[in-house]
């Protein structure tokens, strides 16, 4: 059943291309604004770049996750989905995994323009940068999908989503910035392994919380 739910998410996105395309364009627009508003030396910009990268991701995640739940509201599809005889925790898992695929795909596309438009060198250990980003994406999407599942049927879901999500994501963003900064500057793993542990704990904690609580959250 989980595979069918993931397939459904991917199929809808494959046909409509709403989520990845909107995240991609929004991401590029943010990079443009960053590049135009950061009239500083390349050294300063380089030290700020991990934070900027995750700030951009934060914004595009809000857009993508909200869209991923918003189309379920059309024709009241979400009510039909939660009334289906399936474990609701699996609905969360399918949203989490598909969201992870969407954000990772978007990141893979914007990563080169991000460094190029900011006139920075692409990290030498790009593969490690991408792998660590994927781990962080898992944590980010766990929290984002859980909060989105909570607020989606409220009156101002597009406002409530970032209001509730950003404070919950703040430790992850600290960890993400530290990890990306360490990878870009080629620091040894001993320096930043504690941040990986923090991200892993977020993934486990919010993944389990999402799976366990989603049933109560979406109940009619």
């Amino acid at each position: 059943m989980l595979l069918n739910l993931i397939k459904k998410e991917l199929l809808i996105e494959f046909r409509s291309k709403q989520i990845i395309l909107s995240m991609l364009i929004f991401g590029l627009a943010i990079i443009l604004i960053f590049a135009l508003s950061s009239n500083v030396s390349s050294e300063i910009l380089s030290s700020y770049s991990p934070g900027m990268f995750w700030l951009m991701n934060l914004f595009i995640v809000v857009l993508g996750v909200h869209r991923s739940f918003a189309y379920e509201k059309e024709f009241d599809a979400f009510s039909l989905l939660v009334s289906a005889p399936i474990n609701r925790g699996q609905i969360f898992l399918s949203k989490w995994i598909s969201g992870f695929i969407f954000i990772t795909t978007t990141q893979l596309i914007v990563i080169v323009p991000f460094f190029n438009l900011l006139l920075l060198d692409i990290p030498e250990n790009l593969l490690l940068f991408i792998l660590t980003s994927m781990l962080i994406n898992l944590g980010m999407m766990a929290i984002a999908n859980l909060v989105s599942g909570i607020v989606i049927r409220s009156n101002f879901s597009e406002i409530l989503l970032p209001l509730l999500m950003f404070p919950l994501l703040s430790p992850l963003i600290i960890a993400a910035t530290k990890i990306s900064s360490a990878v870009i500057n080629a620091h040894s793993y001993e320096v930043w392994n504690v941040w990986v542990l923090i991200v892993v704990s977020i993934v486990v904690l919010f993944g389990l919380a999402g799976y366990a609580l989603f049933d109560f959250i979406v109940e009619e």
């Binding site: 909570i150 409220s154 101002f156 409530l160 404070p167 430790p171 600290i174 904690l205 919380a209 109560f216």
Partner: protein
């Protein structure tokens, strides 16, 4: 439903807490020793630290109420959760006001990204969103369950926020709460007394607010 203060035991408990708080206030202002390099600024910690304690205690109660709502499916747990969230946010606001008042003369700046203060600020912001959600969430029954889930998520995030801020700026570790425990008796005992007064005030506020919320439902 009877008014809260029409019930005798509530009147007695309220009088007791009010007397305790008055004694606490007089004790802090007139009888606690003056620290040489901090003067009056130090006295704010008889309010600041107990406020932080009550704030975190309140959010812990929100989490417990959330679990109880899921287990027992009894709406009165939602009243307790909401009342506790309101009280917690009030005290967290107090922490965020009293902290900078102390920090400016002592550290020379209103704000430092110190782990406890940062955790307080993040929780405070989250709970402002929580109240917005409760106002605009839609279906009341569903919002109750979802708010319970938010209360659980907020509290399980506390140790992660604390640790991440601690590792983020490890050099900023000077905090009055750490110093409080190693203070001489002249400071420690009034501090413990203040802590007890604030905790009892929290119990009173929680009982009162839960009672009001419950009576609104029944009326």
């Amino acid at each position: 439903m009877n008014l809260f203060f029409n019930i005798r035991k509530n009147r007695i408990f309220t009088s007791f807490v009010a007397a305790l708080f008055l004694i606490n206030l007089v004790n802090i202002i007139f009888f606690t020793p003056m620290i040489a390099d901090q003067h009056w600024a130090q006295k704010i910690f008889y309010v600041h630290v107990p406020s932080a304690w009550v704030g975190f205690l309140s959010y812990f109660v929100v989490m417990v109420s959330g679990f109880m709502l899921f287990i027992k499916n009894n709406d009165s747990w939602d009243d307790v959760g909401l009342a506790s969230a309101e009280i917690g946010t009030f005290f967290m606001g107090l922490v965020l006001v009293t902290g900078p008042i102390w920090a400016k003369p002592i550290w020379g700046t209103f704000w430092i990204w110190e782990p406890r203060l940062t955790t307080t600020l993040i929780l405070f912001l989250f709970y402002l969103g929580y109240f917005m959600f409760r106002s605009f969430g839609g279906n009341i029954e569903r919002v109750r369950r979802q708010a319970a889930a938010l209360g659980i998520l907020a509290f399980i995030n506390v140790p992660i926020i604390f640790l991440s801020v601690q590792f983020w700026e490890p050099e900023i570790q000077s905090h009055p709460q750490v110093e409080m425990t190693s203070q001489p008796e002249g400071i420690l005992y009034p501090f413990i007394f203040s802590l007890i007064s604030f905790t009892l005030l929290f119990v009173l506020m929680l009982r009162y607010r839960s009672y009001i919320l419950k009576s609104r439902q029944t009326s």
